[in-house]
Symmetry: C2
Subunit: 520 residues, 2 copies
Amino acid sequence: MKEIIAVIKEKMIDPLSVVKTEPLPEKTIREKLAKTVREARELKIPTVVIFEGWGASGKGYMIEKLISELDPRGFKVWSIGNASDDERRYPMLKRFWDKLPSAGKMSIFDRSWYREVSISRVEEKISAKKLERRFCDILEFEKQLADDGCNIVKIFLHISKKEQGRRFEALEAFSATSWRVTDDDRKRHKKYDEYYDAFSEMVECTDREYAPWYVLDAEDKKTTAAAVCRIVLSSLEAAIKAKKERAPELDRKDDAIDKELAAQTHSCPIPNEVRTDPGIVPLPIKPLDSYDLTLDISDEEYKKKLKSLQKELFELHNRLYNKKIPLVIVFEGWDAAGKGGAIKRLTSGLDPRGFEVVPISAPTPTELSFQYMRRFWTALPRSGHIGIFDRSWYGRVMVERLEGFAKFSEWTRAFDEINKFERTLTESGAIVVKFWLQIDSDEQLRRFNERMNDPDKQWKITDEDWRNREKMIEYHIAVDQMLQLTNTSFAPWQVVEANSKKYARIKVLETVVETLRARL
Amino acid sequence: MKEIIAVIKEKMIDPLSVVKTEPLPEKTIREKLAKTVREARELKIPTVVIFEGWGASGKGYMIEKLISELDPRGFKVWSIGNASDDERRYPMLKRFWDKLPSAGKMSIFDRSWYREVSISRVEEKISAKKLERRFCDILEFEKQLADDGCNIVKIFLHISKKEQGRRFEALEAFSATSWRVTDDDRKRHKKYDEYYDAFSEMVECTDREYAPWYVLDAEDKKTTAAAVCRIVLSSLEAAIKAKKERAPELDRKDDAIDKELAAQTHSCPIPNEVRTDPGIVPLPIKPLDSYDLTLDISDEEYKKKLKSLQKELFELHNRLYNKKIPLVIVFEGWDAAGKGGAIKRLTSGLDPRGFEVVPISAPTPTELSFQYMRRFWTALPRSGHIGIFDRSWYGRVMVERLEGFAKFSEWTRAFDEINKFERTLTESGAIVVKFWLQIDSDEQLRRFNERMNDPDKQWKITDEDWRNREKMIEYHIAVDQMLQLTNTSFAPWQVVEANSKKYARIKVLETVVETLRARL
């Protein structure tokens, strides 16, 4: 601990030294900042600026100065307080995903995802292991944003205990400002030393090149605000420079690799560029073509089992609800593999207020302007609820990969991102069940034709389905890779033999029921 | 009261009689429903289905049956519980706006905006007058949705006190379901008669042709569910028929009127079709060209006043925050009238965590698929906060009217919708301040040219600005109409003489300060 305690002091920057690097009038700097923000906007670079620090360290003042010349259309300020009861029913990071900037925008956070961690470290004395887990989630989150091109600046405003005391007194002396000092503030002031350690740990554990901390000595407000503007400015300038210089080259490289890969795709199941976290070792899984698709079930058995499984699921859902465990069920599979029918049988006995089917189709332009995982994070089920994804984040490594919607660098890192996402879910208490519904090519053709010939089902089949069918071999390879790389102990795949719809539906229900039974 | 008490009984429908109108097997009805929902989706008809009724009256079961054959991509179920602390900081209806269906979708509500009203009528004994006000807000809300083409079905499930008691007992008898009966349920069961009156009032006061109530005798769950499916089905069929029959004709009528109006626009300031609520009489307001645009202020006076006004505003903002009053400030005005500069001076002394500038530009495709007012409702400030709209809902009766983005029927009813919206805001406790920044044509031209010649300001001027300038006469007429029709006692317009930027900024600050002073 001793070494960590020194971190804040060690990393502390004298704001005056920052100001001296660009000794221009404040107004000039702020106008330059406004211009640079506009440039970042045109280049579609999203920016996250985080303000953490002591109570009364001047976060509001810093933000006021930072935004004073900015076009209000380009940024948004988020004040992060305690999570609401409803927000507590989701993984910790969920409430931040809908506050992230879209391409070219800036989100400024007055306290952030670090708030909860430091408070619970001091107030609830959470263990070092739990703390590490949370920092790990946060770093993974920030890494994903940075990989997506987001520019991240984290500022910690430091003041001494004495200075904090003085500022609280000054605020309390006037009726117009006294309410700003809350009981929590006073309590935390008394625990200054403990918080000092917690903040040191935080800065030490989460300072990364892609999301660096700037610890500022914030005793002098004006100088600190001037330093903040320059720090954000130079971070934006660096991001702009990097984007301008690197982008075309990288895109070219991506293209070349994609073409090469396309040529080798049959002989090279897993590209070398796929790096998964050494801490997550996928479990072995049989290749798709090794499943026995003749498996079937008689009508009577189907009806009997369906009824009893639905009844049991209804009861398990009640217990799930009581224990406030969220359940995430993913359905993937070939077109016409019977996802809709299986989902219907799964849900038809359930209280519709306790589950939600989330159908995933091509992202909208708005969704595309955010990091890829955002639309899945924001659609997660709350505790006690069931979220059923009809298609999912796995689109990244299937359709987006094969149709070229995702760049090579994007889909190759997606395996790791997905594993970590699912680990975050399960570590926050969720159960994750993933189904791949497997049918063979003949069965798919039969079903496509059936749909074409039934006026009530024609809407279910599109030209795209036929186009996808032509690429079945490529998809087969991509799916096998996906299964191999994302079949983890915490979120294993269930391949369902689905040539017989009845067999598949029962297997899906059985799997969910068994998983819940084991957990409850 | 006696007459009202009978309403539930009077309006009660025997579900069996509904089922008899379409004596088909349930599966057939539900498949027909699924098909009809798809048709409504293609025709872009949004649908709202509300379930209200007694605890344990089977709302969950009804929804389960209703959605059992529906494509999950077309609907969403919303369970409405108590408002969260944060939700309570907004006007009551705000939390429902982001749960409304976009064009072609269906939102199913398990309890709805009626929940809070009936609970507070019984538990808090709110006055008849307050109740009427809330019903009025709700009806206005439903009317706006209906006017926008939304199909609204409101179902009330009725069971007797005895039946409710029996159902609670049955639920309590099993551990898997006993938790479903909450203390609130038991409390409300005891107050059955009071709730009966409250529900009767509710149905009586809010039963409208555009949003009818169906009060169902729900003692027999299965029959009731069958009736619900048929009610929703026939409502959808009627909406589809109406849309198919009326749409082209109405559009033609709209076009003809628009053309006619365009021809007469100079001589016909306010079209006859504009109907405003007789309960809202706008105050007289001087026409735009009668303001003295030579008004100016010296540099010293400007600096002195600016400083003292910003200081006072800072203090008033603190008091506003303490009293939890939301403040909505609207900025409208000619292009280059100085809205941005005025907003900057208004906010530069304020804590950035307590206000937000909401820049309004052309709606995105997603926004266009919802009712027009949605994006403003969802951007309202919470209590104690300041929401500054840089352009606003008034776009409907200016740019959207003149560029033909809004149909004749849409913009003519918008005056009334806007007045009612602002009344809802002020009645919920908000302060609404609206500015029109007035400059003359010469001054605008000067500023446009200045922007063109300054490389740092070129981004501020677009081709659209020049195009709008060509239509200045039409805009002038539209703006004068807007001021006349929406200058209400609760949300009056402030026309600001803005040829002198300094004068305008001071007047804006003075107006806000005076308004707050008067209120606090």
